[in-house]
Structure formats: C-alpha cells, structure tokens
Amino acid sequence: MTDSNASTNDAPIVSVRKVEKTFRRGGEEIRVLDALDLDVPKGEFLALMGPSGSGKTTLLNLIGGLDQPTGGSVVVAGEHIEDLSSRELADWRAENIGFVFQFYNLLPVLSAARNVELPLLLTSLSRAERKRHVAVALEAVGLSHRASHTPRTLSGGEQQRVGIARAIVTDPTLLLCDEPTGDLDRKSGDEILSLLQALNRDQGKTIIMVTHDPHASARAARTVHLEKGQLVSSVVAGAMA
C-alpha cells in the first residue's frame, strides 16, 4: 500500500516516493525496501513499526541521509537528498537532522555538555554562544545539573536524555529516533517518550521513531507498519486506517 494517511493541509516535510533499496550479500541481491511511498507532515510524531528485517531502520537512514536509495526519491524539507554528494549530505545532516540512537552513542571521553556541543562545532557559533545553546538543550531534557558528568557516570535514561539534547541542540528540521527506548527499562523509557512527546507538542518538532514496542508507538500520533520492505498499514492514534 501507499501512505494515504498523511493528514495535513501543508506540503509534507518528508516525501518518499517509489523508494527502493537493495543490498548485495555474497552473490545474492536483497531487496530491503520495495517501491515504498511515505509522506510525513511537518510537526508529526510518526512511529515506524515492523518485524526485524522489514526495512524500518533502512528507511530511517534514507530519510536521514545516512544512506542513498537504489531507486526512487527522498525529499526532505524540499531537498532531493538522493542527488546530494557525500559532502553535501554531511552538511545537510548537520543542518536538518537530529539523530537519537538506541545505544545513545555518546562519546565516552567527553562530558555530557561536550557531547551536546558536538554538532555545534560544525557551526560558526562562538564559544559563548555554543555554551548557551548547550545549556538550553540540557535544560530542555532536565539534565542541567549533570552537564559536567561523563556518560559512564550517567544512568541509561540520563544518557539517552543527553543523546536527545545533542539531537535538538542545533534546532533541526527533523528528529530521527532509532529504537530510543530499546535499551531502557519501562520507567526510563516512559520518561524518554514523554520527553519526545513534549518536544513534538511544545516545540513542534517533527519526529520519526523506529520502534518494536507497541507501548512506545502508542505515544506517536501515527504509526506505520512495514513488512518486507513495503508499507502495510498506517494508523492514526485513536483510529484505524
């Protein structure tokens, strides 16, 4: 099926058309995404669900410009990212995308504040401005008091908050979360989901979240299901499509 539930009057911020992605493993060609269409309106909190190998992380990587499609087009905020070079993609990611990873992926040698500051090193902001942005981001995730702590001294939930602060510190167009609660206990996971909901609701952040967890997807405004590289259903919270 195609994504027909992009219920918005605005042009979608993410528009995926006839996207295909194949990998070669040994002599065999594996088709991970198969002519997939997806629209994500600005300000939506979307959950991507599906069994392992269904292509949801691959789709997230394509939307985030971490990988290039084999065919079709991926348009994010008006930019055809499949046409960008490796260098242009890097610059584009720095400007438009905030990533939140399952295992937080913080640099263990840096403090929480320094981790959050990393994306700002690629901007022309002064040191004082960077410091101010970092403070705001850490405040937004409720971790101002842990700014000088290294990841090793933080709990899993706190590390993921730092990861979210790093993702939002440049005020990106899109927040892409790959199993953000996958490594957390239920309580910490709920806190992270509440934080993402708040970012979506209060700051209008567009969020696409890959998850296996129905409990997590229930927090999203819409959930799409993938199977064998194709979109099989799209469910708006509180309704069936």
Binding site: D67, R87, F99, N105, V109, L122, R127
Partner: protein, 386 residues
C-alpha cells in the same frame, strides 16, 4: 581550535597507550638530536673550516716538520695573504693523560691574522705580545680546569721535553671566545719564539702552516703554486683546502654520518610502525563513534583531518620533548671536551627534526585516517547494533 577538546579527549582515552607511544617517539627524537649533536661534533672541524684557508703540511706525513723559512717563500706567491705556523706540542697537564687537550706554539700576530674566529680584545693581544711565556686558552678549556688569567700552567710534552726534563710553564694572559657556536674554544696556544728557543732540537721547524688566500675561488691555484714552489726539495709540501684536510681526519674515524643515519633510519622506521599501529588501533575501536560524528554532520575530510591531527599531536608531544632534551644536553657542553670540543645541536637539526615530527605524524596517521574517512556511516553505526 574548537576541536581541541575532542582531540584531547581522544588522546586521553587510553592514557597508558598514549603515554607509551609518546615515550617511544620521545626516545627516537632524543636519539636523533643526540646523534646529530655527535655527528656535528665530529664534523665540526669541517664545518668551521674557512673556504679561504689552506693547510700546508709535509707531503709524506703530518708528523714530519717543515722549515720555518717556508713562510717567507710562501708570502711571495701570488694570492697568499697571511700565514700562521702550527706545531703539535702534545703537552699533558699535571702529567695525567686524562687532562689531554690540544696545545700548540704559534706566532700571536699570525694567529690573529689567519684565525679571526678566535676573539681577543686588544688588551689580550698586547698582553700576549709582551709576555714571552704567555699562553691564551679557549673559554671551554678554561672552564674545564677552572683557569683564570694569571694562572701558571705546567705542561709536560713527550714530544718536546725541556733540556732539563722539567715541565714547561706558561702564564695565562687571555681567555678567548669563539666567534660562532661552532668555533673550537678548547685549545691552548703559546708563543712559538719561546718554544723554539727552549727546545733542544728541531729548531727552526714547524708542524704545518695555515695559509689565508685573498680569493677563495683561486685557492686551488694557490695550493698548486705552493706545492710547486717546494717540489724536489728535502721537504715537499701538500697544500689543500682546510675543509678537505679536516674531512681527512673525520674519515679516519670512519663514516660517522653513515653509521648514525643508519641507526636513525632503523629507529624511525620502527617508530612509524609503532605509532601507526597505535593509531590504527585507536581508530578501529572508535568505529561507531566515527559513525556518530559523520551522522551529525562531520564530513569525510573533517574526520580524516581529526585522525591526522591526533596522530600529529602524539608525534609533536613526544618529538618536541625529545628534541628539546637533546638541545638542553648540548647547552651543558661536551661531556668529552678533549675528544669533541664543539658539542651542541645546530638549529638546522631542530628544523629537520620539526619536519620529521610532522612527517611521522602524517605517516603514522594517514592509513587509519583514510580508513576512517572511507567508513560508511550506516555501516559504522550498525557495529553496535545502532
């Protein structure tokens, strides 16, 4: 500058490993500096040689003497400007061979004319001219024995014993300095007239001549003219540029430079492998972090630069410390002034060392840096299941 925090954090990730790598690079560059100092010390005679000076010695051997009247005949040769005679005295201080240092009888004014690299004041010169037993000593030698002007120094020479076999006694009238850091200031000069009148035999003879020519470009012609002047005499000469004469001495010791460079090449090759392995390991264990950096917008070129910068930082920390240590040791002077009077690390070695440090940093980091640069971001992130 804003990436320094990240750079430092990565260096401190494995403190012991970084420390050991820095230490190994320190040793390599300390050796480079020290061996360079020693090489220069051996070659000092060559490097301080003046292009406008010739050495004229007996054709058969340096140990055979030449008549003093050769100076008068050489002065008639076109292109000869000044002449100083030198004679190896071989005196030993306090009758102890450990106290060996070069000591020679010379004519004071001839020495001033031919060897302007020895710096004397006018008062020094006058004092020497008016003191028959006067001697002038280099500041390195004076420091070595704690001598000062007015001290009386006894020397016994197995080559030139006094008729009564007593020690020769000299009064220090001046302590000379060197015009350049490479100038030898470990010699002891005394007056030839006092020496010649006192010695019981071989009167009127000298060891060799130093001849200053008016035009260095014509030095070869002048040397040939000198040799022709004394051809078929009982004491034929061999005149050659001072540098060639000194080089002959150095070559007698062996190809010092080749030996030292061979050692250094082996050391540097090993260090490149050590540092390169360290960097490769450091990058390999950070695959996922490199993926994260790329995901948040670090370009391939920036990742390459970060790894190279890290590698260069390690090389600079160890290399600069090693070079500095070798330079400091040179500042304390020669540990064996009787053998190597000129002992310091020339600035040219510091410049070459700095270039080698950067080359080492780049060479050790380039392959891991290229590997990091080529790392596909999605693949790198998958390493941990992200």
């Amino acid at each position: 500058m804003k990436f320094l925090g990240l750079l430092w954090g990565n260096l401190m990730r494995r403190k012991l490993r970084t420390l050991l790598t820095v230490l190994s690079i320190f040793v390599a560059f300390f050796l480079f500096g020290l061996l360079g100092t020693i090489k220069e010390a051996f070659a000092a005679g060559v490097t301080v040689s003046d292009a406008d000076r010739l050495v004229v010695r007996h054709r058969v051997s340096l140990f055979m003497l030449l008549p003093i009247n050769y100076a008068t005949r050489m002065r008639q040769i076109d292109g000869v400007e000044a002449i100083a005679s030198w004679t190896w005295f071989g005196g030993v201080y306090k009758d102890d061979m450990k106290n060996f240092f070069p000591n020679m009888p010379v004519d004071p004014d001839a020495l001033f004319d031919v060897h302007p690299e020895y710096v004397f004041t006018d008062a020094d010169k006058d004092a020497w001219r008016t003191t028959r037993t006067g001697a002038v000593v280099g500041e390195t030698l004076a420091d070595r024995f704690g001598w000062k002007i007015g001290d009386r120094v006894p020397l016994k020479s197995p080559i030139w014993p006094k008729p009564d076999d007593s020690a020769w006694e000299f009064d220090i009238v001046a302590i000379y300095k060197g015009k350049k850091p490479t100038t030898d200031t470990s010699s002891f000069f005394f007056r030839y007239d006092y020496f010649d009148e006192t010695r019981p035999n071989e009167k009127g003879k000298v060891g060799w001549y130093m001849v200053r020519v008016s035009d260095p470009d014509r030095a070869g012609d002048v040397a040939a003219a000198i040799d022709a002047e004394f051809a078929n005499s009982s004491a034929e000469t061999k005149a050659e540029p001072e540098a060639a004469f000194q080089q002959g001495f150095v070559e007698q010791i062996g190809s010092i430079g080749t030996i030292l460079m061979s050692i250094l090449s082996a050391v540097f090759f090993t260090i490149i492998l050590v540092a390169g392995n360290t960097m490769a390991q450091a990058v390999r264990e950070r695959t996922q972090e490199i993926g994260v950096l790329k995901a948040i917008g670090f370009t391939d070129a920036r990742v390459l630069a970060l790894v190279i910068a890290e590698s260069c930082s390690v090389a600079i920390l160890g290399g600069a410390a090693g070079l500095l240590s070798a330079w400091i040791i040179g500042q304390f002077g020669s540990p064996v002034p009787e053998l190597l009077p000129v002992f310091y690390l020339p600035p040219s070695y510091l410049a070459v060392g700095a270039a080698l440090i950067l080359a080492l940093g780049v060479a050790a980091g380039i392959l891991p840096a290229i590997a990091a640069m080529r790392l596909h971001v999605a693949v790198a992130l998958r390493r941990h299941g992200a």
